[in-house]
């Protein structure tokens, strides 16, 4: 894990928000860790005080090692009127590789305005992993793999 405390907290929070492990989100050996891109995107689009509030809140939750960390993150971050929308945008970013503009009609939908974070990010969107597939337009498989179910 990173020596950057912001990144450590961001990845830890992201794991709770997405349902993936910190190792899946920030692999020990990764040439282009998308987590770094996503944290930079977050910081570029959200006021520093609010980013700090989210990361610090998570750090405090994690430090207490609560029995149900999901519940704490929901109550303290997702249900918070200021932090909640940003946290939900972090989930969208991990799954769809998109940073959606926060200042637009809610709720955000698949047709809302936003920006694809990067080509690298597109190829690592978690929605495709959740579908046990690959990003459309980015397959590392070979001819005929589609004739049988994916390895679980």
């Amino acid at each position: 894990m990173s020596s950057d405390p912001d990144l450590t907290n961001f990845v830890g929070l992201s794991a709770v928000l997405t349902g993936y492990t910190t190792d899946q989100l920030f692999p020990p050996i990764s040439p282009e860790p998308v987590a770094v891109e996503y944290l930079n995107t977050l910081k570029a689009n959200v006021a520093a005080t609010l980013v700090n509030q989210i990361l610090t809140t998570f750090q405090n939750i994690a430090a207490q090692q609560p029995p149900n960390i999901d519940q704490e993150v929901q109550q303290q971050i997702l249900d918070d009127p200021a932090m909640g929308p940003v946290a939900r945008n972090i989930i969208r970013m991990w799954y769809l590789s998109i940073w959606y503009d926060l200042n637009q009609q809610q709720p955000i939908t698949g047709f809302s305005a936003g920006t694809v974070v990067s080509m690298n990010a597109y190829t690592k969107g978690l929605a495709w992993d959740a579908a046990q597939a690959h990003p459309m337009g980015y397959s590392e498989m070979h001819y005929g793999y589609w004739a049988t179910p994916p390895e679980s």
Partner: protein
């Protein structure tokens, strides 16, 4: 511009028809020039891939340049087709929107075609005689059959003959009808999803036809072919195959150029001139640009012995009609007054559902199978036939997934492992049918050059009137009924939604349906035996100007239910053979 050579042939349009024609003419020793409005073919597709990856709406056109000087319709234009002034390239009069699009770039729309390479059925060539609807072709399946075989070898189609011998389709060696035929490559493996659907449908008869899930003939490589790679299942044939395992017309542009064919890019043809004495075409007139959103940087004419229009079924009639003069007030090649009329598509009925068991979509080519059973039958006396394409992309077309469902679940408060497992359960069970309905020709479905709206170069934009007749609508309704019936038989849950406020909604017998385009732009300069009713004779030669030929799906008198590209390639090869043997000998 480069010093002008004496060309035997000038071709307008570097899509599949123009590129194959240029290649074959060059092989026969003819000097050929192609004019294309778009920028030249890029050295590799990385810039297009980057544009695709970074596009928010991954529409068919998303990887390609959108140049003001060479404009084309966009998929999302349909949401605002009634706006005035028009926000898209088309000026649409309705009552329904024309829902299909095309590319104006070298290689044409084959950049984002599916690769589906079905032949038309024998009865598709004689629907008036057999069923009393539409019009017959000026020749039959047997006459086109060898050209289908040659086209399949030219572009590289993967299929097994045994899977394709339905509805009277026959196959034999193009050069020796007594010998059997083989496609150049073995068929593409069917997706797991297809075999699951086939098993669940089981033994079922609808409207007198046994329902069969058939492997689709596809112009993508199942083995290395023509120096191109094998399909890796990127699930992205539309908008762009990342590895060119699927045929596109840039392959024939390169082959033609290797034989000395000249291609002038960024050269937008806007009219043809006619010699008053001979009645022959005397020149093609064009504008050129440098900066794709800047002004025209040049204007000129080019002449040749023979002219071939291959600019697809909207731009070709636009150019012909825009060529009107005092002597030819109806435009060029239009003594029949049929140029621009009988615009057709394959209206698509989308039905989507969730299976009980996993199907694992989003893997493999976008579609590997279809139900071809209802493409023909006695029911064609009552309603239009259709093929049911089985999608491998879940609800991507139907519901903009994964984007829509991910957002919907997050907006509903889901996160963490609940979100992940709910998305998994949803996505792995998604599937859809896209039924492509045969549309009947209507004279009132037409494209004319707009008198009011021009593009950035001052060229009139296409103004379109479009509707579906009741026979076509009845086929559309039947396609929906059959989809529901199949969902029931398979134990799948229908999730199809119909929003009456949709800009492409229509009603038929009290039910509301949503019109989707197949991207199949057809009709508008059709061939037929009667010069008062058709623009071209059976050799796709203008009745009015003997040195003018036209290629592409615009020549189809009626359209059947086969995706048109293979028939475009087959008719092109047939016509170019005629030109070489009989016209330019």
């Amino acid at each position: 511009m480069s010093a002008q050579k004496n060309y035997d042939v000038v071709i307008v349009g570097a899509g599949i028809a123009g590129a194959i024609a240029a290649y074959k003419l060059a092989q026969a020793g003819k000097s050929v020039l192609i004019l294309d409005g778009g920028a030249e073919v890029p050295p590799d597709r990385s810039a297009y891939m980057e544009k695709f990856y970074l596009s928010m709406a991954k529409t068919p056109e998303s990887p390609y340049p959108n140049d003001a000087d060479d404009p084309r319709p966009l998929v999302l234009d349909i949401n605002t087709w009634k706006d005035r002034p028009p926000t898209g390239y088309f000026v649409q009069n309705g009552p329904l929107p024309f829902a299909s699009t095309y590319e104006r770039v070298a290689g044409g729309t084959t950049w984002h075609w599916m690769g589906t390479s079905l032949r038309l059925l024998p009865n598709d060539f004689r629907i008036q005689s057999m069923y009393g609807h539409g019009v017959d072709w000026p020749y039959d399946y047997n006459e086109l059959q060898p050209w289908y075989g040659r086209a399949e070898w030219e572009i590289g189609v993967a299929a097994n003959v045994a899977d394709q011998e339905y509805h009277g389709l026959t196959f034999s060696d193009p050069n020796d009808p007594s010998k059997p035929y083989n496609y150049p490559m073995p068929g593409i493996l069917q997706a797991y999803l297809d075999t699951q659907l086939a098993a669940k449908i089981g033994n079922l008869t609808i409207e007198g036809q046994q329902i069969t899930v058939s492997p689709t003939p596809q112009a993508r490589n199942s083995i290395p072919f023509d120096s191109r790679r094998v399909c890796a299942g990127n699930t992205n044939c539309i908008p762009i195959c990342p590895i060119q395992a699927k045929y596109d017309a840039t392959i024939h542009i390169a082959k033609a150029q290797n034989l000395g064919v000249d291609v002038w890019y960024k050269t937008v043809v806007y009219s043809l001139s006619v010699d008053k004495t001979s009645g022959l075409i005397s020149s093609v007139n064009y504008k050129q640009y440098d900066d794709p959103s800047g002004p025209a940087t040049g204007e000129g004419s080019v002449s040749a012995g023979l002219y071939i229009m291959a600019a697809h079924a909207i731009e070709t009639p636009k150019i012909l009609l825009n060529s009107a003069t005092n002597e030819l007030p109806n435009g060029v090649a239009n003594s029949s007054t049929q140029v621009g009329k009988n615009l057709m598509d394959h209206p698509v009925q989308l039905s989507w559902a969730l299976m009980t068991d996993p199907l694992y979509p989003f893997r493999g080519p976008l579609s590997t199978s279809g139900i071809e059973s209802l493409r023909d039958g006695d029911f064609r006396k009552q309603h239009a036939p259709f093929r049911m394409e089985i999608g491998n992309e879940g609800w991507n077309w139907a519901n903009n997934d994964p984007w829509n469902s991910v957002n919907e679940f997050i907006a509903a408060g889901q996160f963490g492992s609940t979100l992940k497992s709910n998305l998994n359960s949803l996505f792995i069970r998604q599937f859809r049918f896209g039924s492509l309905i045969e549309q009947m020709p209507l004279e009132t479905n037409c494209i004319v050059p707009s008198k009011q709206y021009t593009d950035n170069l001052g060229i009139p934009r296409p103004e379109i009137s479009y509707d579906l007749d009741d026979y076509t609508k009845a086929g559309f309704a039947d396609a929906r009924d059959v989809a529901v019936q199949l969902f029931d038989v398979m134990g799948a849950t229908d999730h199809t939604t119909v929003d009456p406020a949709n800009s492409a909604a229509f009603t038929y017998q009290g039910q509301t349906y949503i019109l989707n385009g197949a991207g199949h732009v057809m009709g508008t300069y059709r061939m037929g035996a009667d010069r008062t009713q058709f623009v071209l004779d059976a050799n796709q030669q203008s009745y009015d100007h003997s040195n003018l030929f036209m290629l592409g799906s615009g020549v189809f008198p009626s359209v059947g239910t086969a995706n048109p590209t293979l028939t475009i390639a087959a008719t092109t090869l047939k016509v170019v053979d005629y030109i070489i043997r009989s016209v330019l000998k």
